[in-house]
Every structure is written in C-alpha cells, then in structure tokens.
C-alpha cells in the first residue's frame, strides 16, 4: 500500500485508490453472491450487526413495527443491540429459543409470525453459531418471513469463508461479514444490504457508503479483506473435508480419553472447524489455564468486563445448567491444524482433566 490517497477525493491519487477499492468491493460481492452496491464497508462485524438491528428497528418503528426478533444464541453484537433498543427506544424484544442441539426453533418463529407479523420490524438469526458451529436454517427463516414482508438479517460472520454463502439464494434482506474471521485483517467488516433499501444511519458525516455509513474508507484494510476473500473462496470442499476429518479424530480421541465428556451440537450440521465439548466435573477457566500451559489453545464461554468467566448463553439456551455450561470449552481447527495436533491433544487433555477435577473438588 504505497498509495495514500483518500478514495473519496477526486484528484489522481484519490482516483487510483478508488479504483482498487471498488475492485475489492466487486471481489467480495462475487464471493457472497450479491451486487457490489449492496456491500457497505464497516469497521467490524459488530458495527454491521448494530447498523442492521438498530436500522431496521428505526425504519419499522415509523410504520408501527416495534418488535425485534432474535435467536437466544446470537452474538452479543446482536443481543446487546436489541437490549439497548428495548431500554432506550421502547422496542419489544422477543428471543426465539433453540433445541438441545442448538438449532433455532422454527415452530416458535412460525407461531410468532402467524400472530404478530405486522408488528415485527426485523428478524435477526445468525447463519452459524460461533460457539458450537451449528448451522441455522436461514432459508426456512426467510421463507417464513417473506409472505409478511419482514426484513431478515443474518450475522454470517462465523460462516463467511467456512461454508458457501449466497446472499441472493438465501433471499436475505441483510447480512453481516467480518474480514478477520476468514483470514483477513482485523478492523474491517461489511453489511450486505439489499439494493434500493435504506436504513437510518448509526454514523453520520460524509455519507461515503450509501449515506448509511459515514467515515473515510479504510482502504488498506478493505483491499486486504478482498485479498483474503479471493484466497478463501478457493476449494471450500477440499479444505472442509480435511478439517472435518481432523475434527472427527479430535472428538473421537477426546471421547475415548475422557469417556463422560460429550460434544455439543454433534448430531446436527455444523461448521467443520469447531469442537464444543462438555467435561463434567471441571471448570472451563481451569482447563484453559492448564491447556495453555501445555501449549494448547482453547476458548471458554465469555467473560464479563472485569474478565470473570461467565457461563455461555448459547449453552444455557441449549438446556445446559450453569454448572455444565461452565464445564465446557471449545477448540478451533483451521488450515494450519495438523494430524499430530489432533493426536496429541486428547493425551494432554487426559492429565489436564484429572488436575482440573482435583481443583474443582477443593
């Protein structure tokens, strides 16, 4: 990035960057099967989620729709936006539950739509869950919403770059993306928003992105985003087959070494690279410390602002108790994961679990 022009400027430096930036927009549009003008660059997936949920609510509010429908397992960027609308803007927030496998309950959604279709401003349901990897039935959600003309937004941050994603075939109204989840840089994302549809803006100013998002383009990050998209859209199936086979080996190894453990979401369709596992009698933060000490990275539910571990709202929605939710960790597998990693991890986990159980008994 030797060029430093502002892509919004009309002089030669600006034009040159503008050309690359629009090229990037086109590549990303190809990757997610939408029109380039439907891509609104943001600074994060979180910003895209906020823009969608709040924007559709404000738009709907004007025509008497003040219900925001989300699933109970959404990312906090969605859940907290909805809660904010409830507290500050008078929204009614309805959470749709999930079954024990972590799949959103379509019956619940159908029932709600049949009763209150005219009141719903937006339905936001994620494409796949970031903690369990469980893929959600988005086409069916869209099918249910279409007759009532309810906008459907989907947070596709986790799915993007992992499974094929077609904005057009899904029939969505809007979709959130983030670059870093698929190998791009941090600090850039996008809201894909159907052509001809406008929502009130969160950020006001120069109106760079369809007047829905203002702020100077982060051209270097956007170009890197497009480069990562071109890389990752190659050979989905080959890569997924490899990662899925490694994941199955890892899960089998863990279940053999820790026989009373169980994989969350194992009976339904999920992303290939996530293993969410419950190990009874342990606490996730203890497991995390001990595994990290052995050179193995895992994640736990989420932490509050002081850094204290909280039980995962996703697992709680799936019917876990506080205790079993706190006994759960997840491993992520990707392009750099090797056979020896998945062979070694269960062995290490065996001794770690023994110590974690001792620590939990104190």
């Amino acid at each position: 990035m030797a060029r430093l022009g502002n892509p919004s400027s009309l002089h030669a430096f600006g034009r040159e960057v503008r050309k690359d930036l629009e090229g990037a927009r086109e590549s990303i549009a190809v990757a997610v099967d939408c029109h380039p003008s439907e891509i609104i660059f943001t600074a994060s997936g979180t910003e895209a989620d906020n823009t969608a949920v709040k924007g559709f609510y404000w738009k709907g509010q004007g025509v008497g729709r003040n219900v925001v429908v989300v699933s109970a397992i959404e990312h906090h960027a969605i859940l907290d936006s909805a809660q904010w609308l409830k507290v500050h803007e008078g929204a009614e927030v309805i959470e749709i539950g999930v079954d024990r496998h972590g799949v959103v309950l379509l019956g619940e959604l159908e029932d709600l739509i049949s009763r209150r279709a005219d009141e719903i401003a937006v339905i936001s349901i994620m494409s796949s869950n970031n903690e369990t990897g469980v893929i959600q039935p988005i086409e069916k959600v869209v099918e249910l919403a279409r007759p009532a003309s309810i906008p459907v937004h989907s947070d596709a941050v986790q799915s993007f770059g992992k499974i094929p994603l077609s904005f057009n075939s899904l029939g969505l109204t809007a979709m959130s993306l983030s670059a870093h989840k698929m190998g791009g840089p941090i600090g850039v994302g996008a809201l894909v928003l159907r052509k001809g549809l406008d929502v009130p803006a969160l950020l006001h100013g120069g109106g760079q992105e369809r007047d829905i998002r203002s702020g100077t383009f982060n051209a270097p990050a956007i170009l890197a985003f497009a480069a990562a998209v071109s890389d990752s859209s190659l050979d989905f199936s080959d890569r997924n087959t490899r990662i899925q086979s490694l994941r199955d080996k890892l899960e089998d190894g863990i279940l053999e070494c820790v026989p009373d453990s169980y994989v969350n979401g194992s009976e339904v369709e999920r992303l290939p690279g996530i293993v969410n596992i419950t190990i009874p009698g342990t606490e996730s933060d203890t497991l995390q410390l001990l595994l990290d000490n052995e050179g193995i990275a895992c994640s736990t539910g989420s932490a509050c602002s002081a850094g204290v571990q909280r039980p995962s709202h996703v697992l709680l929605a799936m019917g876990h108790t506080d205790v079993t939710a706190r006994s759960s960790i997840r491993f992520s597998l990707g392009a750099t994961t090797t056979e020896s990693d998945v062979h070694e991890a269960p062995r290490v986990l065996t001794s770690v679990v023994a110590r974690a159980r001792m620590a939990n008994l104190r």
Partner: protein, 358 residues
C-alpha cells in the same frame, strides 16, 4: 517451581511476580475477582476490586511476559471475609478483613486450587520474609518496618507458609517502586491501597449501618448512668473518643473513651482513659506459624494491629488459649483483633483476642 502469582493490579504484586519469573520459576499471573459487581474505576485509595485493577494486573503480566488469568473468588470472598466482617462487628468485636482474606482466600482457596492443578505455591507482593532453618520454613518480618506485613500473614499455618513465596521482604517500598519503573511497569506510581477494599467510600460505620440497620441504644458510664445515645453499638471501637456525642459531661471535664461494646444489650460503656489500660490478653483459635508453644513462659513480643508496635510480653499456651502478659499496659484493645506473637523477628503464631484484662 511452578507458581501462581496473585496479582492485585498494584505495584507490589507486579514486582513480586516479575522477580519470581526472573528467578527462573514457571509463573502464571492470576487476578482474583473478589466482587461479583466490581466498580469500574478506583476511587481514592481503595484496592483489589475494580475493573481498572484487573486491567492493570493484566497489563503488568503482559509486560513481564507471563500468562494471565482471572479467577472468580467472589463467592468465597463474600462468605469468608465480608460476612465474617459484618458478623464480627455485630458481635461487638473489631475484625481485620485483610487478615481473613489471607487466611481464607489467598493462602487457602487460591493455594489449594493451585496445588490441585499441579502448582507448587503462591507468590504475593506481601512485605514479609520466609526462611528455611532448623525449624523448617518460618515466617519473619520484612526489612522495611513501615511496610512490614507479617502481622496480616500471622494466620498462616506451617502448611500454608510452605506454599508461600514473598519476594519483596528484603526490599523497601521506595526501591520496589524504582524497580517497577525500571521494569517498565506502568503501575510503578500507583498509590497504595489503605482502606478496606469492599467498603467503597472508606466509611466503615456508614457501610455497616446499611447492612446492620440502626438500633438505638444507651451510652453509659461505668456506674451504668446513661450519658448519651447511639444508633448501633457495632459502629463503636474500644478506645474511640471522637464522635460519641455525649450529653452529660464529666465533673472535671476530662474526656471519655469507649471501654466496652455490649452487643446483647446494645450498650456502649465509656470511661476515663486510664480504664482502657490492658495488661493481659487471651486469644482463641490459635494458629502456629512454626513450632507450637506450651504452658511454659516465653519472652517475646505481641502485636495487635497491622502497623502497631511490637510490645514486649511474656506468652504461653494453655488450655487451648494463647495468653500474652504485657510488660507495659496498652491503651485500647478490642476483642476480635488478632494478637500475633513474635520471637525477635520470627512470627510464632497468632490468635483472635477473646478477652482482655486490666
């Protein structure tokens, strides 16, 4: 050794962790979340319980180059320290919560968890020294008298001392701050914490009022004559002179002091200064920091406050009670305070004062 460094977010624990790491130990930093509802920022000289403190601890661990975790000890802290603090005041005694925190959290809950996880011990930034000798590993005063914290550690058993490491005992606070600066630790100039960490404003009486409620009762002199009224006996401390609001002055105009707090009758007894004098104290729930003591008389020192003077005394242990007889009378001593016995600079053990005699 594999060690857990308890990191409060202050300068002392940061330097202690850095020293242990530099000495070649395998150190993991842990910040204890002690409040289920932490304050966002520090206000005044409070310590331990804010989000800002946990950030400071994490930043220090990153600079030192050690892994860092947050352990949720809010429940243990509430049960073992906060509730104990309230109950002790309600019973008319004067507790020291920092001492209970060391006894029940830092060197119990944390040390037990660390050991179960395969760690050898806990490193803290306390100013105290441990020495290996013929008596095993013993606990001693720090070289910096003004910062010495051996008193609040006098509740540790031999087992707990065996799992404790205090890298700062041989250094003055001034030098610890200099070292922190040299190590690039941002907390080098962070103010010391003084107040009780879970009492936000430092207003103990007000905080206790909220929890124990107002209960009006008499303030009487030694003859039982009412000389005033109070709104809760538990907010008074033996030896207190200020804030009594007495309506009946003494004949000669001499000041009166709180001599006794009687929770059952909700009565505060006041009297002249000389009646505060204590020459003998009896303690229960004795903890030995080294070899135990028997009924034979020993010469040594007793200390009754975190930064109190060591008082020359004769001490012995009889019938499950630790007894100290002072050479010189001490003015104002409350039950519930810890009496720590020293043999020169070595902590012999301690007990909770249950009875004092003139």
């Amino acid at each position: 050794m594999k060690l857990i460094a308890a990191m409060s977010g202050g300068v002392d624990s940061a330097v202690a962790a850095a020293r242990a790491h530099e000495a070649g130990h395998d150190v993991i930093g842990v910040h204890l979340a002690l409040s289920s509802n932490p304050q966002k920022y520090r206000s005044g000289a409070r310590g331990c319980c804010t989000i800002e403190d946990s950030h400071d601890a994490r930043r220090a661990a990153d600079v030192i180059g050690i892994p860092f975790y947050i352990w949720d000890m809010a429940e243990e802290f509430h049960e073992g320290v906060v509730e104990n603090f309230i109950a002790e005041y309600a019973a008319g005694r004067t507790p020291n919560p920092c001492l209970r925190c060391n006894e029940k959290i830092k060197f119990a809950a944390v040390l037990d968890r660390a050991r179960a996880m395969g760690f050898d011990g806990v490193v803290t930034g306390h100013y105290a020294i441990t020495r290996e000798g013929s008596m095993g590993k013993t606990l001693h005063r720090a070289i910096d008298d003004s910062k010495d914290q051996s008193y609040v550690l006098s509740v540790l058993t031999i087992e707990q001392i065996a799992g404790a490491m205090f890298p700062l005992g041989d250094t003055t606070k001034v030098d610890v701050r200099k070292e922190a600066k040299a190590r690039g630790l941002y907390v080098a100039n962070k103010p010391d914490s003084h107040d009780i960490c879970f009492v936000p404003s430092g207003d103990n009486a007000g905080w206790l009022h909220q929890r124990l409620g107002s209960k009006v009762g008499p303030i009487v002199d030694q003859d039982g004559v009412q000389v005033g009224e109070h709104k809760g006996a538990y907010t008074y401390t033996i030896g207190q002179r200020k804030g009594l609001g007495l309506s009946v002055p003494t004949i000669d105009g001499s000041p009166r002091f709180v001599l006794k707090v009687e929770p059952i009758t909700n009565t505060v007894v006041v009297g002249p200064r000389e009646d505060l004098a204590v020459t003998r104290m009896v303690g229960e729930k004795t903890v030995w920091c080294g070899p135990s003591v028997g009924p034979d008389r020993n010469r040594g020192f007793v200390q009754v406050r975190a930064h109190g003077q060591p008082l020359p005394c004769t001490y012995y242990y009889d019938n499950d009670l630790l007894i100290a007889e002072l050479d010189e009378p001490l003015l104002g001593l409350a039950t519930g305070q810890q009496m720590a016995i020293y043999d020169e600079d070595r902590v012999v053990g301690s007990a909770t004062i249950s009875e004092t005699e003139q």
